[in-house]
Symmetry: C2
């Protein structure tokens, strides 16, 4: 998905700029030759006018697949241009898995019409899925499972396989009469065995099962690491509801990482390249507001030392050096601990040892860089004492940063707040304040 | 992998703290009941002394699997405690896929011995893999492929499947007489067809193939999105070398995201919770040094306005507010663009429109927050003019941040530098400098 997509986007963009009959034909030809996934990415990358123009030329039979692949803002921009009649025909007999993807973006009335136009089985799948919030496995259940009863034999399995073998199926699931998941049989074991062997004799040992209320991303990771192409999803009573296959699992983890990245900058996960301007502004404003509060807080601490700053301007010039060194060193510790928390490797047993180790690394780096910065500062401002002041402040800030880098994510985690999202803001607020107070405080003590 | 692992680690930690015979038995029992993956995580989470103690109690037959799962620093710490005789027996007849994981950590002499003790086929796999750098697909080739010649029929496929069906296999690959990849046949299609049908009649259309020199992570994503459980990997001449299966693909993308996260904070991807202190210090020092240079650069610009700062202390107190608002706003744009670049959605066709859109959002947020900050600043320092100065500086900085957030990653990308790694440093340097210069410059013009 590299140069092909770049070329595709450029060709679509060129074709939509100049509305000649020739370029229209080019556009149609280009679009019809690509996968829904690629067309979705290409459409998302176009400014709204060109996107709408390109959309007119997308074949009807591809439209639903493309809409399912798109992010919500660009999708909405296209749905808004489509007449009701077309939407009705698009959503007629829609599959549950597709509607689940679209449900959050569709206006309520359209969603209702779509649900009523579904066939009975798909509607039941859809309504079952909607009982679960989108962050648990139950929302993402796939129904392509091969199931046989307890007393089935190898010949029954072979007959079933001759009729159907969906994607990502490497096991047949056995259920009891109440529909509860009982065993999993590898298809590879079915082949090697005589027809009369009971399937339960070939059952896997210690086969993992996913609970519908399990966190979706944790469940996805379980599937990816299991060595199997799918794991069964069961309800609270053990009833087999369906499966989570590795294809869906990969999509879930991929989206998770993207969302984490966006959220760490205070961006809404749905924000897209050409999301509406006012909407983008509002989404981003919240994060800017939070950071403004922390910035004013730090400024308030600086304000306590106005008198000192008035007399020793060098302190105002060098302040950012102290703050940023603490921030960077703290972020390093923070990142390491966040990774450890995500892997569940941090707990009461090793926290103190971790803190000690991070303080040691902080002390070493603190001493080295305090020395370097002291030399530069004392030469720059022709004052050995300024060198001493900044050296002590740097050392104090880097040590505080190490401690904060360990404690902050651990505390956030205990409060059930995701440290990957809020950890950096809290950390840099702490390192800024400690840096400014240490530097200006020592400056007041030693330079006036 | 949640409470189980936490409990495991706590139990192991407790058991290693008190070296009674009872706790030793507990430890052995605990360790023997877990997966290699979980034991590896548990060992990584222990301080070195306790880790070494726990290792003594790990069953011999699990040791290799656990070492393969561990990161390099903790792995090295354990290898160092093992006598040569034990290492020799551990690496005797090792599989190529395991040695590939370990190769970077083993001292050269040990690696040589291991290679010489391998069986011929595994050694050829290992040596083939080593021809490729670790960031291309060729290094991660799996050899569990089902291959048949051009003229094979359904009955030949069924016979092959009865003999073997490895994990993650959903297709049989067809090669010509020169060993070049030719077609892929879904196993599900084999079942539904009569014995005499030539396999090539059932071939998939437009089947994706991976080139051995392709970027490993891009190849992994290709596999995950293909709908298949594995894709074939071919050499330059089209020769079928093996496959990349979805299990490996998930590991590759998982590691990629973890490494990106670490690298964005200037951390070496191999750094672990209890990596040796001096090693950690050195690894982190480089990033700290780079950031120090950018901090001094920003300070130099502040230094140009020493006279102004001496007269208007309020400027020193409010400086960080201007700098941080630009930094946060710029990071939001940067994150959006970086995601777009990763998906190949950014190019000459939409760059200008993107820049315009980001500048618009920047202008809106800039005006709103400039206003808010101006009110607070003018009340705090009892001066309407300070409010005007900071308002203009905030607006200028947020606009500059929007432009930088678009241009910097695009330029870095053109220079083949990963914007996810270096983008933030460059951006915050720019927004700091612009913020300080705008604020102090306007202050000089309007407040003196």
């Amino acid at each position: 998905m590299t140069d092909n997509l770049t070329t595709l986007i450029e060709e679509v963009a060129d074709a939509t700029k100049y509305s000649t009959p020739d370029s229209k034909d080019t556009l149609i030809r280009i679009l019809n030759s690509q996968e829904a996934n690629e067309i979705a990415l290409a459409l998302e990358s176009l400014p709204i006018e060109q996107r709408t123009e390109a959309w007119k030329n997308v074949a009807q039979d591809q439209r639903l697949d493309i809409l399912v692949e798109m992010r919500s803002d660009p999708r909405e921009s296209l749905l808004d241009t489509m007449p009701i009649a077309e939407l009705d025909s698009l959503f007629n007999n829609i599959a549950a898995s597709d509607l689940i993807e679209l449900a959050d973006t569709l206006p309520a009335r359209l969603l209702d019409r779509a649900v009523r136009a579904m066939d009975t089985l798909q509607r039941s799948y859809f309504e079952d899925a909607q009982q679960y919030s989108e962050d648990v496995a139950g929302r993402w259940i796939d129904h392509d499972v091969l199931v046989l009863p307890n007393n089935a034999k190898v010949r029954d399995a072979l007959r079933l396989l001759r009729r159907q073998l969906p994607d990502y199926v490497d096991c047949i699931f056995i259920t009891n009469r109440a529909g509860h998941f009982s065993e999993a049989i590898r298809i590879s074991r079915v082949f090697g065995s005589p027809d009369h062997v009971p399937l339960v004799d070939l059952a896997e040992e210690d086969f993992s099962v996913i609970n519908a209320q399990e966190d979706a991303v944790a469940a996805a990771t379980k599937v990816q690491r299991s060595g199997f192409s799918a794991l069964p999803v069961v309800g609270e009573n053990g009833k087999l509801l369906g499966r989570l296959d590795i294809g869906n699992a990969c999509e879930l983890t991929q989206e998770y990482y993207e969302n984490q990245l966006m959220a760490s900058a205070g961006m809404n996960e749905d924000e897209d390249l050409f999301s509406p301007i006012v909407k983008s502004t509002k989404n981003r404003a919240i994060w800017l507001g939070i950071n403004l509060l922390t910035a004013f807080l730090a400024s308030w601490f600086i304000g306590l030392f106005e008198a000192t700053l008035q007399q020793v301007v060098a302190l105002a010039v060098l302040m950012p050096v102290v703050a940023s060194m603490g921030g960077i060193a703290g972020s390093q510790t923070l990142t390491l601990i966040i990774r450890g928390l995500a892997l569940n490797q941090i707990n009461a047993a090793n926290r103190n040892a971790l803190l000690k180790k991070e303080l040691s690394v902080g002390a070493l780096n603190g001493i080295v860089w305090a020395f370097v910065i002291a030399i530069v500062a004392s030469i720059w401002f022709d004052s050995a004492m300024i060198g001493v002041v900044i050296a002590l402040a740097i050392l104090a800030n880097i040590l505080a940063a190490a401690a904060a880098g360990v404690c902050i994510p651990v505390i956030l985690d205990k409060l059930k707040l995701d440290p990957a999202l809020s950890g950096a803001v809290v950390l840099t607020t702490v390192t800024d304040i400690v840096g400014f107070v240490a530097f200006l405080g020592l400056g007041t003590l030693l330079l006036l």
